[in-house]
Symmetry: C2
Subunit: 144 residues, 2 copies
DNA sequence: CCCCTTATTGCAACAAAGTTGCAATAAAAA
DNA sequence: TTTTTATTGCAACTTTGTTGCAATAAGGGG
């Protein structure tokens, strides 16, 4: 669900009976970023514009409406605008040094997603594939 | 890292200079379950045997030692003994009703994991593949 | 088996994260 | 403009996770 501007945001909201408010405009503004952001960051960026509680409520709503994705990075989740139908979050994550390697292979994954979602008549919105283990460097030095 | 019994737990711990304590035995007992469990569940199962704080500390330790995996289910993480070299955690998770559907297809996934980890000389310990979206029921009934 | 050293525990106190009820307010519709 | 209804902010609360520290218990050596 791509949101181009405030107008398209308003349409998405009103189509479902929700109102476009100042708080929601500000929530959307805070989400504009090249990187996924933590809830704490969004709250801080909007301080004295959007109340904490309202931020939680609107992020929940936006996620339900498909405007944002919640992804896991390390041990916590972050939020991002779901600009593309399906962003790719596939990575190898080293449990020792924390290094994250991105996997490029869209081919296999997209085929797999289609076959499995079709089977269950599931409407996919977002996915994430993570392999935890040890990178080549940390595998070599096996201590601790 | 498979832990067969208390003896093997003691070995894993002492090899790294950690002690086997009553609290750690009870932590291990609480982890015995066919399902991944939340931190809250583990704490409750061990109430008046292991202090909350100690539970957090020992779960952290166990994860570092490879005894437990932390996986994400819906919006939160759960913990499980890493009995098998690589447990399968592939699921479809409904953003609306929270229902989780397990994906059985090991074939494609294992092939994919092997190809990608080989490519980067990465030593996998655990993986997780999650597709968020809407189940057949919630897809049908649109709003809210 | 006892002593000694050191890791580990429990507790209290705190910090961070997320939730709920409700009266006041601001959208949107009429 | 008036009416209707969703939304907000606030206060209070619950849940989750962290830190410092004195008391305790595990394990090794004698
Ligand atoms: Mn992808
Ligand atoms: Mn599974
Ligand atoms: Zn590494
Ligand atoms: Zn559902």
């Amino acid at each position: 669900m791509k949101v181009e501007n405030i107008q398209s945001l308003k349409k998405i909201l009103s189509d479902k009976g929700y109102k476009l408010t100042k708080a929601r405009e500000n929530t959307f503004s805070a989400l504009l970023s090249p990187e996924p952001q933590s809830m704490a960051t969004l709250i801080e960026k909007s301080q004295n514009k959007v109340d904490r509680v309202t931020m939680y409520r609107n992020i929940d709503l936006f996620e339900k409406l498909g405007i944002v994705n919640r992804i896991y990075v390390g041990w916590k989740y972050k939020l991002e605008l779901s600009d593309n139908f399906m962003d790719h979050h596939h990575h190898l994550s080293c449990l020792s040094c924390g290094k994250v390697i991105d996997i490029e292979d869209e081919q296999h994954i997209n085929e797999f997603i289609k076959s499995v979602t079709d089977k269950f008549s599931f409407t996919p919105r977002h996915h994430q594939f993570e392999i935890d283990g040890f990178c080549i460097v940390c595998s070599a030095s096996k201590k601790k």
